[in-house]
Symmetry: C2
Subunit: 292 residues, 2 copies
Protein backbone atom coordinates (compact mmCIF):
# COMPACT_ATOMS: atom_id res chain seq x y z
CA UNK A 1 0.00 0.00 0.00
CA UNK A 2 1.32 3.38 -1.05
CA UNK A 3 0.20 6.59 0.64
CA UNK A 4 0.13 9.15 -2.14
CA UNK A 5 2.18 12.13 -1.08
CA UNK A 6 0.35 15.05 -2.62
CA UNK A 7 2.47 17.51 -0.71
CA UNK A 8 5.69 16.15 -2.20
CA UNK A 9 4.31 15.93 -5.74
CA UNK A 10 2.93 19.46 -5.44
CA UNK A 11 6.33 20.61 -4.18
CA UNK A 12 8.10 19.10 -7.19
CA UNK A 13 5.58 20.58 -9.62
CA UNK A 14 5.95 23.95 -7.92
CA UNK A 15 9.71 23.78 -8.52
CA UNK A 16 9.06 23.05 -12.20
CA UNK A 17 6.62 25.94 -12.43
CA UNK A 18 9.06 28.28 -10.72
CA UNK A 19 11.80 27.25 -13.14
CA UNK A 20 9.47 27.95 -16.05
CA UNK A 21 8.53 31.38 -14.66
CA UNK A 22 12.20 32.23 -14.05
CA UNK A 23 13.06 31.14 -17.57
CA UNK A 24 10.32 33.31 -19.03
CA UNK A 25 11.29 36.35 -17.02
CA UNK A 26 14.96 35.92 -17.93
CA UNK A 27 13.91 35.92 -21.58
CA UNK A 28 12.17 39.26 -21.07
CA UNK A 29 8.69 37.75 -21.02
CA UNK A 30 5.93 38.85 -18.68
CA UNK A 31 5.72 37.48 -15.16
CA UNK A 32 2.38 35.58 -14.90
CA UNK A 33 -0.15 37.48 -12.83
CA UNK A 34 -3.08 35.94 -10.94
CA UNK A 35 -5.78 38.04 -9.30
CA UNK A 36 -8.19 36.70 -6.67
CA UNK A 37 -11.44 38.29 -5.59
CA UNK A 38 -12.67 37.55 -2.07
CA UNK A 39 -16.13 38.64 -0.98
CA UNK A 40 -16.66 38.69 2.78
CA UNK A 41 -14.49 36.99 5.35
CA UNK A 42 -15.48 33.31 5.56
CA UNK A 43 -12.76 31.46 7.45
CA UNK A 44 -12.31 28.70 4.88
CA UNK A 45 -12.27 31.13 1.97
CA UNK A 46 -9.73 33.33 3.75
CA UNK A 47 -7.41 30.36 4.14
CA UNK A 48 -7.85 29.16 0.56
CA UNK A 49 -7.22 32.58 -0.93
CA UNK A 50 -4.20 33.34 1.23
CA UNK A 51 -2.75 29.95 0.25
CA UNK A 52 -3.26 30.81 -3.42
CA UNK A 53 -1.50 34.14 -2.97
CA UNK A 54 1.34 32.43 -1.12
CA UNK A 55 1.67 29.84 -3.91
CA UNK A 56 1.99 32.62 -6.47
CA UNK A 57 4.75 34.19 -4.44
CA UNK A 58 6.54 30.84 -4.10
CA UNK A 59 6.71 30.28 -7.86
CA UNK A 60 7.48 33.86 -8.77
CA UNK A 61 4.06 34.78 -10.14
CA UNK A 62 2.58 38.17 -9.42
CA UNK A 63 -0.65 38.18 -7.42
CA UNK A 64 -3.32 40.67 -6.50
CA UNK A 65 -5.96 40.14 -3.84
CA UNK A 66 -9.11 42.19 -4.16
CA UNK A 67 -11.40 42.24 -1.14
CA UNK A 68 -15.05 43.18 -1.16
CA UNK A 69 -17.29 43.46 1.87
CA UNK A 70 -19.76 40.63 2.65
CA UNK A 71 -22.47 43.17 1.82
CA UNK A 72 -21.09 44.04 -1.63
CA UNK A 73 -23.79 43.95 -4.30
CA UNK A 74 -23.74 41.70 -7.35
CA UNK A 75 -23.27 44.83 -9.48
CA UNK A 76 -20.19 45.84 -7.54
CA UNK A 77 -18.72 42.37 -7.96
CA UNK A 78 -19.55 42.30 -11.68
CA UNK A 79 -17.89 45.66 -12.07
CA UNK A 80 -14.69 44.23 -10.56
CA UNK A 81 -14.93 41.23 -12.90
CA UNK A 82 -15.30 43.47 -15.95
CA UNK A 83 -12.38 45.56 -14.84
CA UNK A 84 -10.19 42.44 -14.47
CA UNK A 85 -11.36 41.17 -17.87
CA UNK A 86 -10.08 44.38 -19.41
CA UNK A 87 -6.84 44.62 -17.42
CA UNK A 88 -4.01 43.38 -19.66
CA UNK A 89 -1.63 43.11 -16.72
CA UNK A 90 -3.80 40.33 -15.24
CA UNK A 91 -3.43 36.97 -17.02
CA UNK A 92 -6.05 35.08 -15.07
CA UNK A 93 -8.28 35.56 -12.06
CA UNK A 94 -10.62 33.73 -9.75
CA UNK A 95 -13.64 34.75 -7.74
CA UNK A 96 -13.47 32.68 -4.56
CA UNK A 97 -16.61 30.59 -3.99
CA UNK A 98 -18.99 30.32 -2.23
CA UNK A 99 -20.38 33.82 -2.62
CA UNK A 100 -22.85 35.42 -0.19
CA UNK A 101 -26.43 34.29 -0.80
CA UNK A 102 -27.59 37.54 -2.39
CA UNK A 103 -25.18 37.10 -5.31
CA UNK A 104 -25.91 34.74 -8.21
CA UNK A 105 -22.76 32.68 -8.66
CA UNK A 106 -23.57 31.70 -12.24
CA UNK A 107 -24.02 35.30 -13.34
CA UNK A 108 -20.59 36.11 -11.93
CA UNK A 109 -18.88 33.07 -13.45
CA UNK A 110 -20.41 33.71 -16.87
CA UNK A 111 -19.15 37.30 -16.72
CA UNK A 112 -15.54 36.15 -16.48
CA UNK A 113 -13.61 36.25 -19.76
CA UNK A 114 -13.16 32.51 -20.53
CA UNK A 115 -9.55 33.14 -21.53
CA UNK A 116 -8.88 34.40 -17.98
CA UNK A 117 -11.07 31.82 -16.20
CA UNK A 118 -8.25 29.95 -14.44
CA UNK A 119 -10.73 28.19 -12.15
CA UNK A 120 -12.15 26.52 -15.27
CA UNK A 121 -15.74 27.11 -14.11
CA UNK A 122 -17.01 29.05 -17.15
CA UNK A 123 -19.43 27.11 -19.41
CA UNK A 124 -17.09 27.53 -22.39
CA UNK A 125 -14.27 25.83 -20.54
CA UNK A 126 -16.52 23.02 -19.26
CA UNK A 127 -17.90 22.49 -22.77
CA UNK A 128 -14.42 22.37 -24.29
CA UNK A 129 -13.45 19.87 -21.62
CA UNK A 130 -16.25 17.56 -22.82
CA UNK A 131 -15.05 17.94 -26.39
CA UNK A 132 -11.41 17.34 -25.46
CA UNK A 133 -10.42 20.79 -26.75
CA UNK A 134 -7.73 22.97 -25.13
CA UNK A 135 -9.25 24.70 -22.09
CA UNK A 136 -8.73 25.52 -18.44
CA UNK A 137 -9.55 22.43 -16.39
CA UNK A 138 -11.11 22.84 -12.93
CA UNK A 139 -8.23 22.76 -10.46
CA UNK A 140 -9.21 19.78 -8.31
CA UNK A 141 -9.91 17.31 -11.16
CA UNK A 142 -6.75 18.54 -12.90
CA UNK A 143 -4.75 17.99 -9.72
CA UNK A 144 -6.12 14.45 -9.39
CA UNK A 145 -5.13 13.63 -12.97
CA UNK A 146 -1.61 14.87 -12.17
CA UNK A 147 -1.42 12.58 -9.14
CA UNK A 148 -2.54 9.57 -11.18
CA UNK A 149 0.09 10.43 -13.78
CA UNK A 150 2.85 10.97 -11.24
CA UNK A 151 2.28 7.59 -9.59
CA UNK A 152 1.86 5.96 -13.00
CA UNK A 153 -1.54 4.54 -11.98
CA UNK A 154 -3.22 2.79 -14.89
CA UNK A 155 -6.65 4.19 -15.69
CA UNK A 156 -7.38 2.72 -19.12
CA UNK A 157 -10.15 0.11 -18.98
CA UNK A 158 -10.45 0.37 -15.20
CA UNK A 159 -13.72 1.01 -13.41
CA UNK A 160 -13.71 4.35 -11.64
CA UNK A 161 -16.53 5.09 -9.20
CA UNK A 162 -16.94 8.77 -8.31
CA UNK A 163 -19.12 9.68 -5.32
CA UNK A 164 -20.39 13.25 -5.53
CA UNK A 165 -21.63 15.13 -8.59
CA UNK A 166 -20.59 18.72 -7.87
CA UNK A 167 -19.89 21.06 -10.77
CA UNK A 168 -16.33 21.62 -9.62
CA UNK A 169 -15.16 18.11 -8.69
CA UNK A 170 -17.32 15.03 -9.24
CA UNK A 171 -18.99 15.82 -12.54
CA UNK A 172 -15.94 17.21 -14.36
CA UNK A 173 -13.70 14.44 -13.02
CA UNK A 174 -16.16 11.79 -14.22
CA UNK A 175 -16.09 13.36 -17.68
CA UNK A 176 -12.30 13.66 -17.77
CA UNK A 177 -11.68 10.07 -16.70
CA UNK A 178 -14.09 8.69 -19.30
CA UNK A 179 -12.54 10.62 -22.20
CA UNK A 180 -10.29 9.01 -24.79
CA UNK A 181 -7.09 10.32 -23.23
CA UNK A 182 -4.33 9.43 -20.78
CA UNK A 183 -5.18 9.51 -17.95
CA UNK A 184 -8.65 8.50 -19.05
CA UNK A 185 -10.44 5.67 -20.84
CA UNK A 186 -12.00 4.59 -17.55
CA UNK A 187 -15.43 3.09 -17.30
CA UNK A 188 -16.93 5.68 -14.97
CA UNK A 189 -19.85 5.39 -12.57
CA UNK A 190 -21.06 8.68 -11.07
CA UNK A 191 -22.84 8.26 -7.73
CA UNK A 192 -24.59 10.83 -5.55
CA UNK A 193 -27.18 11.31 -2.84
CA UNK A 194 -29.87 9.51 -4.89
CA UNK A 195 -27.74 6.42 -5.48
CA UNK A 196 -29.15 3.21 -4.05
CA UNK A 197 -27.02 0.35 -2.73
CA UNK A 198 -23.90 2.46 -2.96
CA UNK A 199 -21.68 -0.21 -1.44
CA UNK A 200 -22.50 -2.60 -4.30
CA UNK A 201 -20.98 -0.05 -6.66
CA UNK A 202 -18.01 0.99 -4.52
CA UNK A 203 -17.07 -2.67 -4.12
CA UNK A 204 -16.62 -2.84 -7.91
CA UNK A 205 -14.32 0.17 -8.09
CA UNK A 206 -10.73 -0.18 -9.27
CA UNK A 207 -10.41 3.55 -8.63
CA UNK A 208 -12.69 5.19 -6.06
CA UNK A 209 -13.05 8.94 -5.70
CA UNK A 210 -14.94 10.38 -2.72
CA UNK A 211 -16.06 14.00 -2.96
CA UNK A 212 -18.92 14.26 -0.49
CA UNK A 213 -17.70 16.25 2.48
CA UNK A 214 -18.81 13.57 4.98
CA UNK A 215 -15.98 12.74 7.39
CA UNK A 216 -15.18 9.03 7.56
CA UNK A 217 -18.04 8.10 5.21
CA UNK A 218 -16.15 5.42 3.28
CA UNK A 219 -15.64 2.29 5.39
CA UNK A 220 -13.31 -0.63 4.83
CA UNK A 221 -16.24 -2.91 4.05
CA UNK A 222 -17.12 -0.75 1.05
CA UNK A 223 -13.96 -1.35 -0.99
CA UNK A 224 -12.25 -4.31 -2.59
CA UNK A 225 -8.61 -5.25 -2.14
CA UNK A 226 -6.19 -3.40 -4.36
CA UNK A 227 -8.41 -0.36 -4.92
CA UNK A 228 -6.97 3.11 -5.55
CA UNK A 229 -8.72 5.61 -3.25
CA UNK A 230 -8.70 9.35 -3.93
CA UNK A 231 -10.20 11.32 -1.03
CA UNK A 232 -11.35 14.80 -2.05
CA UNK A 233 -13.30 15.44 1.14
CA UNK A 234 -12.15 18.29 3.36
CA UNK A 235 -14.31 18.92 6.38
CA UNK A 236 -13.09 21.13 9.19
CA UNK A 237 -13.86 19.89 12.67
CA UNK A 238 -13.13 21.98 15.77
CA UNK A 239 -10.17 20.63 17.71
CA UNK A 240 -8.64 21.75 20.97
CA UNK A 241 -5.31 20.13 20.21
CA UNK A 242 -4.76 22.03 16.98
CA UNK A 243 -3.36 25.55 17.09
CA UNK A 244 -5.67 26.64 14.27
CA UNK A 245 -8.61 25.47 16.38
CA UNK A 246 -9.71 22.87 13.83
CA UNK A 247 -8.59 19.74 12.05
CA UNK A 248 -9.24 18.64 8.48
CA UNK A 249 -11.02 15.34 7.85
CA UNK A 250 -11.49 13.44 4.60
CA UNK A 251 -14.42 11.30 3.48
CA UNK A 252 -12.48 8.08 4.13
CA UNK A 253 -12.11 6.11 7.36
CA UNK A 254 -8.43 6.05 6.62
CA UNK A 255 -7.11 3.27 8.85
CA UNK A 256 -9.61 0.61 7.88
CA UNK A 257 -9.66 1.51 4.18
CA UNK A 258 -5.92 2.06 3.70
CA UNK A 259 -5.03 -1.54 4.53
CA UNK A 260 -7.03 -2.72 1.49
CA UNK A 261 -5.69 -0.15 -0.97
CA UNK A 262 -2.93 -0.24 -3.54
CA UNK A 263 -2.80 3.56 -3.36
CA UNK A 264 -4.60 6.06 -1.13
CA UNK A 265 -4.49 9.81 -0.65
CA UNK A 266 -4.40 11.09 2.94
CA UNK A 267 -6.25 14.17 4.22
CA UNK A 268 -4.52 16.55 4.64
CA UNK A 269 -1.58 16.20 2.26
CA UNK A 270 -3.26 14.36 -0.62
CA UNK A 271 -5.52 16.07 -3.12
CA UNK A 272 -5.52 19.48 -1.37
CA UNK A 273 -1.99 20.58 -2.29
CA UNK A 274 -2.59 19.36 -5.87
CA UNK A 275 -5.67 21.56 -6.22
CA UNK A 276 -3.43 24.53 -5.57
CA UNK A 277 -1.07 23.27 -8.30
CA UNK A 278 -3.97 23.06 -10.76
CA UNK A 279 -4.55 26.79 -10.33
CA UNK A 280 -0.87 27.62 -10.83
CA UNK A 281 -0.72 25.52 -14.00
CA UNK A 282 -3.80 27.31 -15.35
CA UNK A 283 -2.26 30.68 -14.51
CA UNK A 284 0.89 29.71 -16.39
CA UNK A 285 -1.26 28.58 -19.31
CA UNK A 286 -3.27 31.83 -19.23
CA UNK A 287 -0.08 33.77 -19.41
CA UNK A 288 1.17 31.71 -22.36
CA UNK A 289 -1.87 31.48 -24.59
CA UNK A 290 -4.46 34.18 -24.41
CA UNK A 291 -7.12 32.00 -26.01
CA UNK A 292 -7.56 28.68 -24.18
Amino acid sequence: MVIIDGKRVAGELKEQIRAEVDSRVSRGLKRPHLAAVLVGADGGSETYVSNKVKDCHDVGCESTLIRLAETASQEELLSVVHSLNGDDSVDGFIVQLPLPGHIQENAVIEAIDPTKDVDGFHPVNLGKMILGLPCFLPATPAGILKLLEYYDIETSGRHCVVIGRSNIVGTPLSILLSRKAAPGNCTVTLCHSYTKNLHELTLQADILVTALGKPGFLKGSMVKNGVVVIDVGTTRIPSETSKSGWKLYGDVSFDEVASKCSYITPVPGGVGPMTRIGLLLNTLQASTVKSP
Copy 2:
Protein backbone atom coordinates in the same frame (compact mmCIF):
# COMPACT_ATOMS: atom_id res chain seq x y z
CA MET B 1 -43.33 -5.39 -21.94
CA VAL B 2 -44.08 -2.11 -23.66
CA ILE B 3 -42.61 -1.22 -27.05
CA ILE B 4 -42.00 2.50 -26.87
CA ASP B 5 -43.66 4.11 -29.85
CA GLY B 6 -41.33 6.97 -30.70
CA LYS B 7 -43.19 7.65 -33.89
CA ARG B 8 -46.48 8.22 -32.08
CA VAL B 9 -44.93 10.35 -29.33
CA ALA B 10 -43.08 12.40 -31.93
CA GLY B 11 -46.35 12.81 -33.81
CA GLU B 12 -48.13 14.11 -30.73
CA LEU B 13 -45.31 16.50 -29.88
CA LYS B 14 -45.28 17.72 -33.48
CA GLU B 15 -48.98 18.57 -33.15
CA GLN B 16 -48.21 20.54 -29.99
CA ILE B 17 -45.37 22.37 -31.70
CA ARG B 18 -47.57 23.16 -34.70
CA ALA B 19 -50.28 24.53 -32.40
CA GLU B 20 -47.68 26.73 -30.69
CA VAL B 21 -46.35 28.00 -34.04
CA ASP B 22 -49.88 28.71 -35.27
CA SER B 23 -50.68 30.53 -32.06
CA ARG B 24 -47.57 32.67 -32.37
CA VAL B 25 -48.21 33.53 -36.01
CA SER B 26 -51.84 34.40 -35.26
CA ARG B 27 -50.57 36.80 -32.61
CA GLY B 28 -48.41 38.52 -35.22
CA LEU B 29 -45.18 36.93 -33.98
CA LYS B 30 -42.44 35.68 -36.26
CA ARG B 31 -42.65 32.23 -37.80
CA PRO B 32 -39.65 30.22 -36.46
CA HIS B 33 -37.01 29.72 -39.13
CA LEU B 34 -34.45 26.90 -39.23
CA ALA B 35 -31.59 26.80 -41.72
CA ALA B 36 -29.57 23.68 -42.49
CA VAL B 37 -26.21 23.56 -44.21
CA LEU B 38 -25.31 20.40 -46.10
CA VAL B 39 -21.79 19.89 -47.45
CA GLY B 40 -21.49 17.21 -50.12
CA ALA B 41 -24.03 14.52 -50.88
CA ASP B 42 -23.60 11.67 -48.39
CA GLY B 43 -26.67 9.45 -48.57
CA GLY B 44 -27.36 9.40 -44.85
CA SER B 45 -26.88 13.13 -44.47
CA GLU B 46 -29.18 13.80 -47.44
CA THR B 47 -31.92 11.78 -45.75
CA TYR B 48 -31.44 13.39 -42.35
CA VAL B 49 -31.47 16.91 -43.72
CA SER B 50 -34.47 16.38 -45.96
CA ASN B 51 -36.34 14.91 -42.98
CA LYS B 52 -35.49 18.01 -40.95
CA VAL B 53 -36.75 20.28 -43.70
CA LYS B 54 -39.93 18.21 -43.98
CA ASP B 55 -40.46 18.40 -40.20
CA CYS B 56 -40.22 22.19 -40.34
CA HIS B 57 -42.83 22.25 -43.06
CA ASP B 58 -45.09 19.93 -41.05
CA VAL B 59 -45.12 22.20 -37.99
CA GLY B 60 -45.32 25.46 -39.90
CA CYS B 61 -41.72 26.56 -39.39
CA GLU B 62 -39.82 28.19 -42.18
CA SER B 63 -36.75 26.33 -43.43
CA THR B 64 -33.82 27.03 -45.67
CA LEU B 65 -31.44 24.41 -47.05
CA ILE B 66 -28.03 25.62 -48.09
CA ARG B 67 -25.95 23.20 -50.13
CA LEU B 68 -22.20 23.35 -50.57
CA ALA B 69 -20.13 21.07 -52.81
CA GLU B 70 -18.16 18.22 -51.22
CA THR B 71 -15.06 20.16 -52.27
CA ALA B 72 -16.09 23.40 -50.50
CA SER B 73 -13.26 24.81 -48.41
CA GLN B 74 -13.45 25.38 -44.66
CA GLU B 75 -13.31 29.13 -45.37
CA GLU B 76 -16.35 28.92 -47.64
CA LEU B 77 -18.28 27.02 -44.98
CA LEU B 78 -17.23 29.46 -42.24
CA SER B 79 -18.36 32.31 -44.42
CA VAL B 80 -21.82 30.71 -44.67
CA VAL B 81 -21.87 30.24 -40.88
CA HIS B 82 -20.98 33.89 -40.27
CA SER B 83 -23.63 34.98 -42.69
CA LEU B 84 -26.28 32.87 -40.88
CA ASN B 85 -25.09 34.21 -37.51
CA GLY B 86 -25.81 37.71 -38.76
CA ASP B 87 -29.09 36.95 -40.50
CA ASP B 88 -31.92 38.08 -38.21
CA SER B 89 -34.49 36.16 -40.24
CA VAL B 90 -32.85 32.86 -39.21
CA ASP B 91 -33.58 31.82 -35.60
CA GLY B 92 -31.39 28.76 -35.54
CA PHE B 93 -29.30 26.66 -37.87
CA ILE B 94 -27.39 23.43 -38.10
CA VAL B 95 -24.39 22.28 -40.07
CA GLN B 96 -25.06 18.63 -40.87
CA LEU B 97 -22.28 16.33 -39.65
CA PRO B 98 -20.08 14.55 -40.56
CA LEU B 99 -18.18 17.07 -42.66
CA PRO B 100 -15.68 16.10 -45.36
CA GLY B 101 -12.24 15.22 -43.93
CA HIS B 102 -10.55 18.45 -45.04
CA ILE B 103 -12.82 20.54 -42.79
CA GLN B 104 -12.24 20.82 -39.02
CA GLU B 105 -15.62 20.17 -37.43
CA ASN B 106 -14.73 21.88 -34.17
CA ALA B 107 -13.71 25.09 -35.89
CA VAL B 108 -17.08 25.16 -37.65
CA ILE B 109 -19.11 24.37 -34.53
CA GLU B 110 -17.29 26.99 -32.47
CA ALA B 111 -18.02 29.57 -35.16
CA ILE B 112 -21.78 29.12 -34.74
CA ASP B 113 -23.46 31.77 -32.60
CA PRO B 114 -24.40 29.78 -29.44
CA THR B 115 -27.82 31.44 -29.39
CA LYS B 116 -28.51 29.91 -32.84
CA ASP B 117 -26.83 26.55 -32.16
CA VAL B 118 -29.99 24.42 -32.25
CA ASP B 119 -27.93 21.22 -32.49
CA GLY B 120 -26.58 22.06 -29.03
CA PHE B 121 -23.02 21.14 -30.06
CA HIS B 122 -21.30 24.43 -29.18
CA PRO B 123 -19.03 24.33 -26.08
CA VAL B 124 -21.12 27.04 -24.40
CA ASN B 125 -24.27 24.96 -24.68
CA LEU B 126 -22.53 21.79 -23.49
CA GLY B 127 -21.03 23.67 -20.54
CA LYS B 128 -24.39 25.16 -19.58
CA MET B 129 -25.88 21.67 -19.78
CA ILE B 130 -23.36 20.50 -17.15
CA LEU B 131 -24.29 23.45 -14.95
CA GLY B 132 -28.04 22.91 -15.40
CA LEU B 133 -28.43 26.36 -16.97
CA PRO B 134 -30.87 27.12 -19.79
CA CYS B 135 -29.30 25.98 -23.07
CA PHE B 136 -29.92 24.06 -26.27
CA LEU B 137 -29.67 20.36 -25.52
CA PRO B 138 -28.28 17.99 -28.16
CA ALA B 139 -31.29 16.61 -30.03
CA THR B 140 -30.88 12.88 -29.40
CA PRO B 141 -30.37 13.07 -25.61
CA ALA B 142 -33.21 15.62 -25.43
CA GLY B 143 -35.46 13.27 -27.41
CA ILE B 144 -34.63 10.37 -25.09
CA LEU B 145 -35.51 12.47 -22.02
CA LYS B 146 -38.86 13.29 -23.67
CA LEU B 147 -39.55 9.57 -24.23
CA LEU B 148 -38.77 8.76 -20.59
CA GLU B 149 -41.09 11.57 -19.51
CA TYR B 150 -43.88 10.55 -21.85
CA TYR B 151 -43.91 6.96 -20.61
CA ASP B 152 -43.51 8.15 -17.02
CA ILE B 153 -40.44 5.96 -16.57
CA GLU B 154 -38.86 6.55 -13.16
CA THR B 155 -35.21 7.59 -13.39
CA SER B 156 -34.50 8.86 -9.88
CA GLY B 157 -32.16 6.54 -8.00
CA ARG B 158 -32.05 4.02 -10.83
CA HIS B 159 -28.83 2.74 -12.36
CA CYS B 160 -28.46 3.81 -15.96
CA VAL B 161 -25.71 2.21 -18.06
CA VAL B 162 -24.83 4.09 -21.24
CA ILE B 163 -22.73 2.31 -23.87
CA GLY B 164 -20.93 4.76 -26.15
CA ARG B 165 -19.25 8.05 -25.23
CA SER B 166 -19.81 10.19 -28.32
CA ASN B 167 -20.00 13.96 -27.94
CA ILE B 168 -23.50 14.05 -29.36
CA VAL B 169 -25.21 11.12 -27.62
CA GLY B 170 -23.49 9.04 -24.95
CA THR B 171 -21.53 11.68 -23.07
CA PRO B 172 -24.24 14.38 -22.91
CA LEU B 173 -26.94 11.82 -22.06
CA SER B 174 -24.81 10.46 -19.21
CA ILE B 175 -24.44 14.00 -17.85
CA LEU B 176 -28.15 14.82 -18.23
CA LEU B 177 -29.32 11.65 -16.50
CA SER B 178 -27.00 12.18 -13.55
CA ARG B 179 -28.08 15.78 -12.93
CA LYS B 180 -30.38 16.81 -10.10
CA ALA B 181 -33.46 17.09 -12.31
CA ALA B 182 -36.44 15.15 -13.58
CA PRO B 183 -35.78 13.09 -15.60
CA GLY B 184 -32.40 12.65 -13.90
CA ASN B 185 -30.95 11.67 -10.54
CA CYS B 186 -29.76 8.38 -12.05
CA THR B 187 -26.61 6.67 -10.95
CA VAL B 188 -24.89 6.62 -14.35
CA THR B 189 -22.19 4.30 -15.67
CA LEU B 190 -20.61 5.38 -18.97
CA CYS B 191 -19.11 2.48 -20.94
CA HIS B 192 -17.14 2.48 -24.18
CA SER B 193 -14.67 0.54 -26.27
CA TYR B 194 -12.15 0.34 -23.40
CA THR B 195 -14.67 -1.10 -20.95
CA LYS B 196 -13.82 -4.55 -19.61
CA ASN B 197 -16.42 -7.17 -18.68
CA LEU B 198 -19.18 -5.07 -20.18
CA HIS B 199 -21.87 -7.66 -19.51
CA GLU B 200 -21.21 -7.45 -15.76
CA LEU B 201 -22.22 -3.80 -15.97
CA THR B 202 -25.12 -4.15 -18.39
CA LEU B 203 -26.62 -6.84 -16.15
CA GLN B 204 -26.86 -4.24 -13.37
CA ALA B 205 -28.69 -1.68 -15.50
CA ASP B 206 -32.21 -0.57 -14.64
CA ILE B 207 -32.03 1.63 -17.74
CA LEU B 208 -29.69 0.65 -20.57
CA VAL B 209 -28.81 2.95 -23.45
CA THR B 210 -26.91 1.58 -26.45
CA ALA B 211 -25.26 4.10 -28.74
CA LEU B 212 -22.56 2.14 -30.51
CA GLY B 213 -23.66 1.60 -34.08
CA LYS B 214 -23.08 -2.16 -33.92
CA PRO B 215 -26.15 -4.01 -35.21
CA GLY B 216 -27.47 -6.60 -32.78
CA PHE B 217 -24.65 -6.02 -30.29
CA LEU B 218 -26.80 -6.27 -27.15
CA LYS B 219 -27.89 -9.85 -26.48
CA GLY B 220 -30.57 -11.16 -24.16
CA SER B 221 -27.95 -12.62 -21.84
CA MET B 222 -26.59 -9.13 -21.18
CA VAL B 223 -29.69 -7.67 -19.50
CA LYS B 224 -31.71 -8.35 -16.38
CA ASN B 225 -35.46 -8.80 -16.24
CA GLY B 226 -37.46 -5.60 -16.12
CA VAL B 227 -34.79 -3.41 -17.72
CA VAL B 228 -35.67 -0.34 -19.80
CA VAL B 229 -33.72 -0.47 -23.09
CA ILE B 230 -33.15 2.62 -25.23
CA ASP B 231 -31.56 1.73 -28.58
CA VAL B 232 -29.87 4.70 -30.22
CA GLY B 233 -28.03 2.64 -32.83
CA THR B 234 -28.90 3.23 -36.47
CA THR B 235 -26.87 1.23 -38.94
CA ARG B 236 -27.93 0.99 -42.56
CA ILE B 237 -27.54 -2.42 -44.11
CA PRO B 238 -28.14 -3.03 -47.83
CA SER B 239 -31.39 -4.89 -48.42
CA GLU B 240 -32.94 -6.19 -51.63
CA THR B 241 -36.43 -6.29 -50.15
CA SER B 242 -36.50 -2.60 -49.22
CA LYS B 243 -37.39 -0.04 -51.83
CA SER B 244 -34.75 2.36 -50.48
CA GLY B 245 -32.16 -0.37 -50.99
CA TRP B 246 -31.31 -0.58 -47.28
CA LYS B 247 -32.73 -1.34 -43.88
CA LEU B 248 -32.04 0.31 -40.54
CA TYR B 249 -30.71 -1.81 -37.66
CA GLY B 250 -30.32 -0.92 -34.00
CA ASP B 251 -27.67 -2.05 -31.52
CA VAL B 252 -30.09 -4.47 -29.85
CA SER B 253 -30.92 -8.07 -30.76
CA PHE B 254 -34.52 -7.05 -30.41
CA ASP B 255 -36.37 -10.37 -30.13
CA GLU B 256 -34.23 -11.90 -27.40
CA VAL B 257 -33.82 -8.67 -25.43
CA ALA B 258 -37.41 -7.41 -25.68
CA SER B 259 -38.86 -10.36 -23.80
CA LYS B 260 -36.88 -9.37 -20.70
CA CYS B 261 -37.68 -5.66 -20.84
CA SER B 262 -40.27 -3.51 -19.11
CA TYR B 263 -39.86 -0.97 -21.91
CA ILE B 264 -37.85 -1.04 -25.14
CA THR B 265 -37.42 1.26 -28.13
CA PRO B 266 -37.54 -0.37 -31.57
CA VAL B 267 -35.37 0.62 -34.55
CA PRO B 268 -36.76 2.22 -36.62
CA GLY B 269 -39.57 4.07 -34.85
CA GLY B 270 -38.01 4.56 -31.42
CA VAL B 271 -35.37 7.19 -30.72
CA GLY B 272 -34.98 8.34 -34.34
CA PRO B 273 -38.25 10.27 -34.65
CA MET B 274 -37.63 11.84 -31.23
CA THR B 275 -34.24 13.17 -32.33
CA ARG B 276 -36.07 15.10 -35.00
CA ILE B 277 -38.42 16.50 -32.32
CA GLY B 278 -35.43 17.64 -30.27
CA LEU B 279 -34.36 19.86 -33.15
CA LEU B 280 -37.84 21.33 -33.58
CA LEU B 281 -38.09 22.12 -29.88
CA ASN B 282 -34.72 23.86 -29.98
CA THR B 283 -35.82 25.85 -33.04
CA LEU B 284 -38.93 26.95 -31.20
CA GLN B 285 -36.80 27.92 -28.21
CA ALA B 286 -34.35 29.82 -30.43
CA SER B 287 -37.23 31.77 -31.86
CA THR B 288 -38.55 32.58 -28.36
CA VAL B 289 -35.43 33.56 -26.47
CA LYS B 290 -32.49 34.91 -28.38
CA SER B 291 -30.07 34.15 -25.57
CA PRO B 292 -30.19 30.49 -24.49
